[in-house]
């Protein structure tokens, strides 16, 4: 695995968050947090439970709005009012709860909210679905990402945890143009299934996306991430290039010992 250093990216970051603050009532979930990510790199976002990781990525993906701070995408300041805004801006998110529709097939899940349909002069809701095209694209995507889904016409409710996770990650791959955010994508998986999801994340990076990966698994961090940013109690407390040797340093940064 080649380790990319920040210096290896002379171009501007594709996503840059600066001075992010977010409160929930009296809880300060984010206190002046800044992060940058570049195309083709994986940034690990680390921290103990309640450190503010999910809050930060929800602000980037339009679920929450920042109280203060800026989100700059490809050099342009953006106000993300809704998840749809973030998706339009090229940011895809794999949420901790996956946000999959159990009653739909993988293809229907991939294209939910972004159905391929026509004719164009019809109002969006009344357009006719182009099911063949959506199925085709799903099949080729699944092939190119090397995911094994034997029952493509079955609803997602019938699939195993690993398959569901793979579907959620693959869905982000369909539309990701700039940034993919993954919130603990392997937390509920066994080793074999985790392996597949990690390979998938690598494939997403190789396609030129910037990846923000939240995980508690230090093995995965050292294997995949170019950089690791650590949050503690809503603050950014450090950044490291993770290697096998500084794992301990990373862990003590996380717990604050």
């Amino acid at each position: 695995m080649t380790q990319h250093l920040p210096e290896a990216h002379p171009q501007h970051p594709v996503l840059s968050v600066s001075g992010a603050c977010k409160r929930f009532g009296s809880v300060v979930a984010l206190d002046n947090v800044s992060i940058d990510v570049h195309r083709g790199e994986i940034l690990a976002l680390l921290g103990d439970n309640g450190a503010g990781k999910s809050t930060l990525i929800k602000c980037i993906s339009g679920v929450h709005r920042l109280d203060a701070g800026d989100v700059v995408i490809d050099g342009a300041a953006n106000v993300l009012r809704s998840p749809a805004d973030a998706r339009l801006a090229g940011i895809e998110t794999v949420y901790q709860d996956l946000a999959l529709f159990d009653n739909l097939t993988p293809a229907q899940n991939f294209f939910a909210g972004r159905e391929i349909a026509g004719p164009r002069w019809f109002p969006r809701a009344m357009r006719f679905l182009n099911k063949r095209k959506m199925d085709e694209q799903t099949r080729s995507l699944i092939q190119s990402l090397n995911v094994s889904l034997p029952h493509l016409d079955a609803v997602v409710a019938l699939m195993s945890g690993g398959q569901r996770q793979a579907i959620a990650v693959a869905r982000s791959a369909v539309f990701a143009r700039k940034v993919v955010i993954l919130d603990e994508p392997t937390a509920a998986l066994g080793q074999r299934e985790s392996r597949k999801v990690l390979d998938l994340i690598g494939a997403l990076r190789d396609r030129g996306n910037a990846i923000i990966l939240i995980t508690h698994n230090m093995e995965h961090v050292t294997e995949l991430a170019c950089r690791a940013v650590v949050l503690r109690q809503g603050r950014r407390v450090g950044e490291l290039v993770p290697t096998r040797d500084n794992k301990q340093e990373l862990v003590s940064m996380i717990v604050g010992a």
Binding site: V63, S82, F101, A112, G113, A125, L129
Partner: protein, 350 residues
């Protein structure tokens, strides 16, 4: 129930041979297939048994009767089905139908043309549906049960007030013949049912909107995150349910040559029962138009058969209730089998 879960977990914990897991996999898959086709199978079985019990049952005249009598339930159940797809419920359909029929009769007596009378009934139904949907979504009500219960009462009250508590006789001849006469050997209302069913089928299965309805019923908060306009989708299902009640009003007013505030009593129960008996899931996101139609026809067949066999009306209520319980349990069983299937797939790998 808990006992079952425990034994399930124990089973999962024990290592088993791939062959055993595989045969169970097949058994579960077959079970799911059977449950999927359950309502149709039961309807076919029912028809076979009834044709043996009563020679009159399969006569064209009696079949025509069943269709004519179930047409209203069929149309309104198709609207109800949309609402149930989104995890909702529309209790107001019966009163809505009554109010629409009264408004239709009043407009007829005020000299409106046939087309206007039809439009009045359909638009009145849609309007009550819009009130339901808008209050549910934008009034931030916890469940549509509450607002549709309120409009059940309000629409009934307005209908009784307007009609002075009585039926208002008289409908334009065209509406009457639609409700009473046969065309090409079939009751006119059957064509209306077929037309509505065809339109609904295309809307739900082939349009972006239809896909959104299923997504909202499957997981509303995920639908929001995927950029689907959830509020508008929800409102639209109530408007369509109301519209179906308005169309039902046209059919019933035609059949009885009257508009009446007493129409549609317990129609909400018949339509909800039809959707559930037909095999749609009360948990949302599962089902199609066929379920509503099969369920409505099944209720019609059971009623008709019990009549032919001289079984009293009281027993009919009991039988329908029992069938509802069976249908809901089948839905629970299906969910159980599906999670079992998931465990098996995780064990044996893809």
């Amino acid at each position: 129930m808990t006992g079952m879960d425990e034994s399930l977990e124990r089973e999962v914990a024990e290592p088993r041979s791939a062959a055993v897991a595989n045969s169970e996999n097949i058994a579960v898959a077959v079970g799911l297939k059977l449950l999927g086709a359950g309502a149709v199978l039961i309807l076919i079985g029912l028809v076979l048994v009834l044709s043996l019990l009563s020679p009159y049952f399969l006569s064209p005249r009696n079949l025509g009767n069943i269709l004519a009598q179930t047409a209203v339930v069929c149309v309104v159940a198709m609207g109800q089905h949309l609402v149930i797809l989104t995890k909702g419920i529309d209790l107001s359909v019966g009163s809505n139908l009554a109010l629409a029929s009264v408004l239709g009769a009043l407009s007829f007596h005020a000299g409106a043309s046939t087309l206007t009378v039809v439009a009045v009934m359909v638009v009145a139904g849609a309007a009550v549906g819009a009130v339901n949907g808008l209050f549910y979504v934008y009034g931030r009500l916890p469940h549509p049960f509450i607002i549709t219960l309120a409009t059940l009462s309000i629409a009934k009250g307005i209908a009784l007030q307007l009609a002075d508590g009585r039926a208002i006789p008289g409908m334009p001849p065209a509406i009457r013949s639609l409700g009473q006469e046969a065309f090409a050997g079939l009751p006119g209302s059957v064509f209306v049912v077929a037309g509505v069913a065809g339109l609904m089928f295309v809307l739900t299965q082939s349009t972006v909107w239809g896909r959104w309805v299923y997504a909202v019923g499957g997981k509303a908060d995920a639908a929001v995150r995927m950029g689907i306009p959830v509020s508008a989708v929800l409102v639209s299902t109530y408007v369509i349910s109301g519209t179906c009640a308005g169309i039902g009003a046209v059919l019933l007013a035609g059949r009885t040559d009257a508009g009446s505030p007493l129409f549609g009593n317990l129609l909400e129960l018949d339509t909800i029962a039809a959707v559930i008996i037909g095999g749609a899931s009360f948990l949302g996101g599962r089902g199609h138009i066929g379920h509503a139609l099969i369920g409505a026809i099944m209720i019609g067949v059971i009623r008709n058969a019990l009549n032919l066999l001289n079984v009293g009306v009281f027993y009919q209520l009991i039988v329908i209730g029992v069938v509802i319980v069976i249908a809901v349990e089948a839905d629970v069983l299906r969910n159980h089998l599906e999670s079992r299937m998931r465990v098996l797939r995780a064990e044996t790998g893809p």
